[in-house]
Symmetry: C2
Subunit: 345 residues, 2 copies
DNA sequence: AACAGTCACGAAATCGATTTCGTGTTGAAA
DNA sequence: TTTCAACACGAAATCGATTTCGTGACTGTT
């Protein structure tokens, strides 16, 4: 209906020039008090708002940041988004979200789409397929173009830019140490294939904890999942076929499948087997028994990533030094890993 | 580094005018085959991409849609986003996401921010606080300004625009009927306060199912939650203090709290009490026992909303008639509501 | 030879806002 | 009376791309 007001229309209406209107609205001393008040009153009355697009073009900055994630129906990523959005909003930025669905092609497409002027900088977590292909041309291109990029969680070592990660290895080590402290003797790991960077690191953390306690790493007790969507049966079978009293899983879903397997075997959690996993989402809190986890502080990661990016956009480019921020993890002990009675004495 | 290529630079480099370059790249017949090839080759070589912002300004359309949601760390909303993103991406649109965190002020702020030229249209689910205040000026303003708006899930009756909702009342009725079919005689409802539109409708569906089966609605068996974040203890107490053999909850979280309460009472699910809820998220699938639910098909809602909005943006404004699309629900029976043995004979 | 019609391209307006320069008017100082 | 500064405002360039309208150079027709 109302095709929204422009400076030109105000100028015509008030019989002054466009420049005068612009200056008046920005409180320039060039304009007389009287004219200024008249223009501002008119603008307020008709609710004038400068056109963002025109401003973006003029200023060569869009005040929006692009966020490219592998998926979104996943508490961890959703939490990251919430953190980013919180900071972006506070600092006057908008967030454009794109999903790669873990596909390399979609990741490339989306980056090209956004890089053509729509955004001032990128925050991204690379797709699984991209990590598998190890093809990062699209990233290099965007960076060479002078656009700031912050990598979160699923990062790429060979790309130099700001990064926000969690200490996956240390988190995993802490988790397994917790199981050991609880008296577990045969601890299994349910993890992902190695090309997923965070999966690999967590597997290493698992091994590290065992070695630090002079345990041998039994490869048959490590299950590496390729296809996450159809992992349940695989995990149930794994649990059924192996003897264990502790399980470290790299995410909540693996944990719940494992617990199902344990129950089917006629054993109980934590009575016979202790379970702990990464990712502290709703599932962990609500599950019965509630799940012990390593909390990744997704919101903090998101906030940190957004601050890093916006700082680089707004602050003088003093240093070309890139930061890698490590967000701490915390061990949250719940029912699934309560101390075994045999270990209490 | 490379401050990205513009038409002007190509023109200067090739010693032709800007108009010629633009026309050549758009395959205009005005330009000779030879010049066209030369320009296109140059553009490809240096990877020219037109500036989106300049295009937006010129075309008066940004090819991006604004999405304003109450929250995101919630499977249902995350699923809606995925659906919207899927369609938007396919049809060449970007999605800017803002979160209101259920706050009225943030909802208004974000709408103003986006409405100033950044987007072509809105998809939104109104904040709880907004529904409580019943103040929809910001919505009316945006709509009067001529910007298409699609409301999803948490809609507002008094606003005329396209809407995508689920049949909350019917879904609830189906759920409760399922419990009745399973032999439940005392069915409790765990729902939200009435000003949340979907909560109210679901409560009505619960009552409707009971009446259709000639049962009386016992108000003491209806628990209305105000503060969702601190609802667990309240629910546990409610379950402890009342006698019931069936529970209908308006979301997964209430279900799990209820199950915890039942267990604490020394009863089991579904043996003693059947449980069913709205929202088919990860939690329902993974929980032990797995939860029977009413699936809301969030992805479909998102896809439908995006299609509605983009149609209105692109198709001739043939009709001012607004659609209200009702997305069906489906009953998913899992372990938490398996038929009671007593009811089987 | 004169005129019309292509062809191939450039100039300029446009989108909406900001900002740098000018410039006409006024009052005061010399 | 002349001159100069301050004042208040407008014209025009700019951001990057598209598009309308013109125009100079040829070609072809009679």
């Amino acid at each position: 209906m109302k095709p929204k007001l422009t400076l030109k229309q105000i100028a015509r209406e008030l019989d002054v020039s466009v420049s005068t209107v612009s200056k008046a609205l920005r409180d320039s001393v060039e304009i007389s008090e009287e004219t200024r008040q008249k223009i501002k009153a008119f603008a307020k009355l008709y609710n004038y708002k400068p056109n963002n697009i025109a401003l973006s073009l003029k200023n060569r900055k869009t005040k929006t940041i692009g966020l490219l994630l592998p998926e979104i129906v996943h508490d961890f990523f959703a939490t990251i988004i919430a953190g980013i959005e919180e900071v972006a909003n506070k600092r006057g930025y908008n967030v454009i979200i794109c999903l790669s669905n873990n596909s390399f092609d979609r990741e490339v497409m989306n980056m090209e789409m956004l890089a053509s002027g729509s955004i001032d900088g990128f925050i991204l977590s690379v797709a699984k397929e991209t990590q598998q292909k190890e093809d990062y041309h699209h990233l290099e291109e965007v960076i060479n173009q002078g656009m700031p990029v912050v990598l979160v969680d699923r990062v790429v070592d060979c790309i130099t830019c700001d990064k926000v990660i969690i200490d996956d290895m240390e988190g995993a080590r802490k988790a397994v140490q917790h199981l050991i402290d609880n008296g577990c003797r045969k601890i299994a790991a349910i993890t992902t294939v190695d090309y997923v960077s965070v999966g690999k690191l967590r597997t290493q953390g698992y091994a590290k904890a065992l070695k630090e306690n002079n345990r041998t790493v039994d490869e048959t007790l490590i299950l590496k999942i390729e296809d996450i969507d159809n992992s349940e049966q695989q995990i149930v079978n794994f649990v059924r076929d192996h003897d264990m009293d502790g399980i470290f899983a790299v995410n909540e879903h693996f944990s719940t499948s494992a617990i199902k397997g344990i129950n089917l075997k006629g054993l109980s959690v934590p009575g016979d087997v202790s379970v702990i996993s990464f990712s502290d989402g709703e599932l962990s809190k609500r599950f019965i028994p509630s799940l012990s986890t390593i909390n990744q502080h997704g919101a903090e990661m998101g906030r940190k990533a957004a601050d890093l990016l916006i700082d680089r956009l707004e602050l003088p480019v003093d240093d070309e030094k890139y930061q890698t921020n490590v967000i701490g993890t915390s061990l949250i002990v719940r029912e699934s890993s309560s101390i075994k009675s045999t270990a209490m004495f």
